[in-house]
Symmetry: C2
Subunit: 205 residues, 2 copies
Amino acid sequence: MGRDGKPTRDKILTESKALVLDNGFSGTSIDQILERTSITKGAFFYHFKSKNDLALALIQEHAREDKAEMDRALEKTEFFRDDPLKRLLQFVQEFIDTMSSLQKPYPGCLYASFIYEAQNFSQEINNYICDSISIWRDTLKILLHDVLREYDTRLDVDIESLADLFKVIFEGAFIVSKALDEPDVIAKQLIHLKNYFELVFESKK
Amino acid sequence: MGRDGKPTRDKILTESKALVLDNGFSGTSIDQILERTSITKGAFFYHFKSKNDLALALIQEHAREDKAEMDRALEKTEFFRDDPLKRLLQFVQEFIDTMSSLQKPYPGCLYASFIYEAQNFSQEINNYICDSISIWRDTLKILLHDVLREYDTRLDVDIESLADLFKVIFEGAFIVSKALDEPDVIAKQLIHLKNYFELVFESKK
DNA sequence: AATTATACAGACTAGTTGGTATGTTTAAAT
DNA sequence: ATTTAAACATACCAACTAGTCTGTATAATT
């Protein structure tokens, strides 16, 4: 009954995400999206009942991919579970590897883009962003507490904010990388995060 | 000849900056600005020949204040010039102090806001942002090289990216702070930067 | 007091915006 | 072959957008 709409919907999401990261959500018109996807208004409003509905779908999709990347890195580092610090360091290294082969600056993060025009969005969307970033905090907190069971810290550190530091550096690096048009900023900043982890923890005597 | 227009112009800049940080630049209409400032279209377009002209003025003004804060912190830490590490740490501490008394999340940074809709702006504006962030890099590089003359590093660090880390953490902390609606994120993240500086440098033997 | 340039007020416009209404095509199920 | 619902296409609209135009108030200068 009718043809398959998923490719169209996916195309809309992919192209509009790219447009939003360049122009902002308010700065991206539906007509622009239609041009990039070579579809028409009828098709667009068949898949999304409003522009705000597209925003919600964009964030949900981004949150899905975001969490998937986190889980992938978690799985790949399970091998080091016996040494929680090694695991933590390798966890960061996974993202260094991903980010060190960029030719152009990373297009950026939808969370950040949306946060800087948060008043245009429904509370539902803003909650979604809040929850998604909290997941990183909670996950990193677990990894850090595992480390603390076997390591001391060379100075007093607040673990919750140390968990946040991961996303903080990512988001900040995106912005500086885009501003300076230097793709390698992101990987280089993540190396400093890894350095900090290496320096702040020491084996219990 | 005619009355003083500076208060009006300043009011436009102040209110539109606040609006832009909440709604994005494209998401902020001139009518919104008129409502917030209680002026009329005639007054607005007397002071700014176009909306893009306002964008340029906003960035220039923000860059001015941004640099002023940096210079203020530099001056306040000149006292520690004999110990470059102490000076660097105190430099960071100055911003920790400023950011630790926030009741609401810091409204954010115009550079970041603009970067996420960069395609809507002229090259002149984007260059302005690039130059402004480069100033932080260059200034921190000087402070760091001063440190390196009297200290060793506990592990290999790239100085240029270490200089960038300052703005990276600031920008990232703004976003996470806004997303989670937690004002204290910024100061806490800056403390980690200070920690990192403390840990990475050690006195030459 | 008259002049003059500055600083603003407010009605107006052409183009763009998100969104709708109605019709048409597609392809699986009967 | 016919039906049927999903997947589009296209013309259209009201509201909003940035920007203009013409007129008026203000205050220092002559």
